[in-house]
Symmetry: C2
């Protein structure tokens, strides 16, 4: 099981392999982000995207799934997230791409008001199969403490 | 049609009415964010969420749909987004909530490298049916210029 006490600044993890399926790109965009360049190659060709590209929210959601799968495998005692400090969609994500993730812990602290909880900040970089960065994100997250009376 | 030239700093819009459906909360979380508090009331009751709450990525996606619907109605010539400067999930979003959105333009500038494009930054606040803020976001977006040779 992975608790607050098991996180340390500088800790890096590399994981995930998510194929971006064309049907899923169009289904997600149809529900949540029906801008033309997320729905068809023809519309995307008239923009800097060039061809059908995943919604940035879809990319974020696919990244989240890779994060959760890694955390489940580790018994990570996550308690959600208060937010994102910065997110950049650096390059388009295309159907057929395979995404992977690298995370690094930037800082950690115990919650003052909730001793059962700690907070940490992570830098996340998302790569496509060419090793190109397609998304970066700095985000906060909460995690259970093993020892609510601990000092670290 | 709404082009870069039609955006101005201080411009505010209030729109959207999105019911958060329980089935959709669970379906989204099952695909993209299968943390226990996004899947069942029982698991959420053991955390500060209290009961089943929407994934923050799902909330962001629902907000994006309200943004796109408003933009479609206005003929907004959007060209995607380079990223988010800050996002905060302020309060849990529960099944049965109805979300709405307020946006304000914070700044705008023409692209140096792509005269057919301008960039602007918006502050977005998301409310539930009680008028409580559930999410805030400061994000950048691209939009077509009406006149690529314009000076404003």
């Amino acid at each position: 099981m992975r608790y607050y006490e098991d996180m340390f600044v500088g800790q890096k993890r590399r994981f995930g392999s998510r194929l971006v399926a064309r049907d899923e790109v169009i289904a997600f965009a149809s529900h949540y982000d029906p801008q033309p360049f997320h729905l068809s190659d023809e519309a995307a060709a008239k923009t800097h995207f060039g061809r059908l590209s995943a919604s940035g929210w879809h990319t974020g959601a696919m990244v989240m799934r890779m994060l959760v799968d890694e955390q489940d495998a580790a018994g990570h005692q996550g308690l959600g997230s208060p937010g994102i400090d910065e997110l950049r969609w650096v390059r388009p994500v295309y159907p057929g791409d395979t995404l992977s993730v690298e995370t690094e812990v930037l800082d950690k602290r115990r919650s003052q008001s909730r001793p059962e909880m700690g907070l940490f900040t992570s830098a996340t970089r998302v790569f496509n199969q060419h090793g190109e960065v397609v998304m970066t994100m700095t985000a906060k997250a909460m995690i259970r403490t093993r020892d609510p009376d601990g000092a670290d």
